[in-house]
């Protein structure tokens, strides 16, 4: 009898603890949201939009690396596919509303993601990384030679146009709140996916793929779907980025970009929702600060150094380490 009461007591206290943790998370999220809404009052909106675009890119990437355990070294291809498609459409069809251009760009990246996925999930682990890298290089060569991309020069002067036909996006504040809405949409979508039964299967695949297979899950199909969703969201980030900066360039398609998004995710914390956002903010800021100062030419070695440091010293990333610290000191 006494035993039963203690058990229910423990259960209740666990539930209470979870509830209080959830409440804390909710408060944190509300504070962050308020900060994002107020940020353009104190910071340059275009810079904030750059951060949000890369944050969405990293969030999309993290769905694969952090929750499915797949390391894609070719995500630049999807960013560029979204970027170039949207840029081409908005430049050449003046009647097109901005959101249509972005939607088609996202769709193009999603289709490309399907193509990559079908080929790449045939191999695992390290091979997966090499294959996605090689495929992205193929896409890079395509963009270099294709007549509509402007080759080495890229696309310039892409019009921002009107959202839904009547919101003028040439206003930086209107643009900012649109980008924020897109980012939040993508972030919440990933949050929802990770929490869903589908997300649980992804995590199972990450932790122990053979066991997931033996439990009867069609692992390849789950991986493919995760890959396609991730590619689509990366394309969305690229599309929006093109509208913000009014240009699409080969930088987006280069392997260097694939490396950068890995660094953002790893540094912020793989497998945490907020990690990629923190990582993207950090990397974009760092690159901006370095470009201002005398170390402008040293961006690459410094990024490389951060890679080495993160892998050697704190693999959980900034957010992951904070979570570990809290967990240790709270209980």
């Amino acid at each position: 009898m006494a035993n039963a009461t203690t058990q229910t007591d423990i259960q209740q206290s666990i539930i209470q603890q979870q509830k209080s943790e959830q409440r804390k998370k909710q408060i944190l999220n509300l504070v962050l949201l308020a900060l994002l809404l107020l940020a353009p009052a104190v910071m340059y909106p275009v810079f904030l939009m750059k951060i949000l675009c890369f944050a969405l890119f990293a969030v999309a990437f993290n769905l694969l690396l952090g929750y499915t355990g797949l390391l894609s070294f070719g995500h630049a291809a999807f960013l560029a596919a979204g970027s170039y498609t949207t840029g081409y459409l908005l430049s050449n069809f003046s009647g097109l509303t901005t959101e249509m251009g972005i939607l088609v760009g996202t769709a193009a990246a999603t289709v490309l993601g399907l193509g990559f996925g079908v080929v790449a999930i045939r191999r695992q682990g390290i091979y997966f990384a090499m294959i996605t890298l090689a495929l992205a290089q193929l896409v890079y060569f395509f963009f270099v030679q294709a007549p509509f991309t402007g080759g080495e020069d890229g696309m310039h002067g892409v019009p921002r146009g009107h959202l839904f036909g009547f919101v003028d996006l040439s206003n930086n504040y209107a643009m900012y709140y649109f980008v924020l809405a897109v980012f939040l949409g993508g972030y919440l979508a990933v949050q929802r996916i990770v929490g869903s039964p589908f997300g649980q299967v992804l995590k199972a695949i990450k932790q122990n793929e053979p066991r997931a297979v033996s439990l009867g899950y069609n692992v390849d199909r789950y991986k493919l779907l995760a890959f396609v969703i991730s590619a689509g969201l990366a394309g969305l980030a690229g599309s929006v980025k093109t509208v913000v900066f009014q240009l699409a360039s080969l930088n987006d398609a280069h392997w260097h970009m694939s490396g950068e998004v890995i660094l953002m995710t790893l540094l912020g914390g793989t497998g945490t929702l907020l990690g990629p956002v923190v990582g993207a903010t950090f990397v974009v800021n760092l690159e901006y600060q370095l470009a201002q100062g005398p170390l402008g030419d040293w961006v690459d070695p410094i990024l490389g150094g951060i890679f080495v440091l993160t892998v050697m010293a704190f693999r959980s990333g900034i957010v992951g380490e904070i979570q570990n610290f809290m967990r240790k000191n709270m209980s």
Binding site: L65, L71, V119, A120, R122, R123, Q124, G125, I126, Y127, A129, M130, I131, L133, A134, L135, Q137, L138, F141, F142, Q145, W255, G259, I262, L266, D297, W298, V299, D300, P301, I302, L303, G304, G305, I306, F307, V308, V311, M312, R315
Partner: protein, 295 residues
């Protein structure tokens, strides 16, 4: 007889030879990757950077000390190999038990550092390295002109590939390496110094890359960024061939060089992409690669 499929024989055989030379470099690089992968189970993303270091080193020790080509061909790989052993000892070893993704990212970071630092010092335009006197000129084979140096590249690369094969398959050290590839824990139990073997293996793989770089110095533009693009091609080659066997890596490397050479004759725009397309086709038909054992 002077034309095949509407292309002059001289052009065709010339491109074919260039293809074989590229293939020889692919073979050397993928061989090094395969040797490292066999024992360490990691993909060395710094392999392109090591190739670049080999070439840079050859040029720099010539400029600084007047070290001639033949000595450099030996010294440059040794210097870079020692550097590789240091990397293994101080960095790679410390994350050995972790997910292989981390070692991949670590070597990627190292490659970024090396390429970035050297770019800041020497620029990207490329250093000049003059061809050794012996290799100036060439011979006329009747149907094509064969420069001596290019012939030497093919011979040297094949010799080194053969020597590597011989060492791994026929010597005692090689038998340790093969045993370690199968089960390194068991071998440790037999009293063999596995950590030392791992260091040496990594150093040796890196040496092969640096040797390719030294070999490339007189014919390719030597610059800090020369390694990154060739590395991605070599990854595709490795995926096509599978890293199961040494002969497989060498044969696939040469074959892909030839395929690339042919494409340059018939459809020049596609020559940069053709190896990646072959990779896609191979993955769709035979996912484990041409010489691979399992997926």
């Amino acid at each position: 007889m002077t034309e095949i499929l509407g292309v002059p024989v001289a052009v065709l055989s010339g491109q074919l030879m260039l293809g074989v030379i590229n293939g020889a470099f692919y073979a050397l690089l993928s061989l090094g990757l395969a040797v490292i992968f066999g024992l360490l189970k990691i993909i060395n993303f710094a392999h392109g950077a090591m190739y670049m270091l080999g070439a840079m080193c050859t040029v720099l020790i010539f400029d600084a000390f007047g070290v001639n080509y033949w000595v450099a061909l030996f010294v440059a790989p040794v210097i870079v190999g020692c550097f590789g052993i240091l990397l293994e000892y101080f960095l790679l070893r410390r994350i050995a038990g972790q997910d292989h993704i981390y070692s991949l990212l670590l070597t990627f970071g190292i490659a970024l550092i090396l390429q970035g630092v050297l770019t800041n010092i020497y620029g990207v335009s490329g250093l000049r390295y003059s061809m050794p006197e012996v290799f100036r000129g060439g011979m006329n084979l009747g149907f094509m002109f064969l420069p001596y140096y290019r012939a030497w590249v093919i011979v040297a690369a094949l010799l080194v590939c053969f020597a590597t094969w011989f060492m791994i398959e026929k010597t005692r050290l090689g038998s340790y390496l093969r045993a370690g590839t199968e089960d390194s824990q068991l071998m440790q139990g037999f009293g063999i110094n596995v950590p030392l073997l791992i260091s040496l293996t990594y150093g040796f793989g890196v040496m092969l890359a640096a040797f390719a770089g030294a070999l490339a110095a007189p014919i390719y533009s030597v610059s800090p960024v020369m390694g990154s693009n060739i590395l991605i091609v070599v990854f595709a080659v490795v995926v096509i061939g599978g890293m199961g066997s040494i002969a497989g890596a060498v044969v696939t490397g040469l074959m892909m060089g030839v395929v690339e050479g042919f494409t340059k004759v018939f459809y020049p725009e596609g020559s940069a992409a053709v190896i990646f397309l072959v990779m896609v086709v191979v993955l769709l038909i035979r996912p484990s690669g041409l010489f691979g054992k399992e997926a």
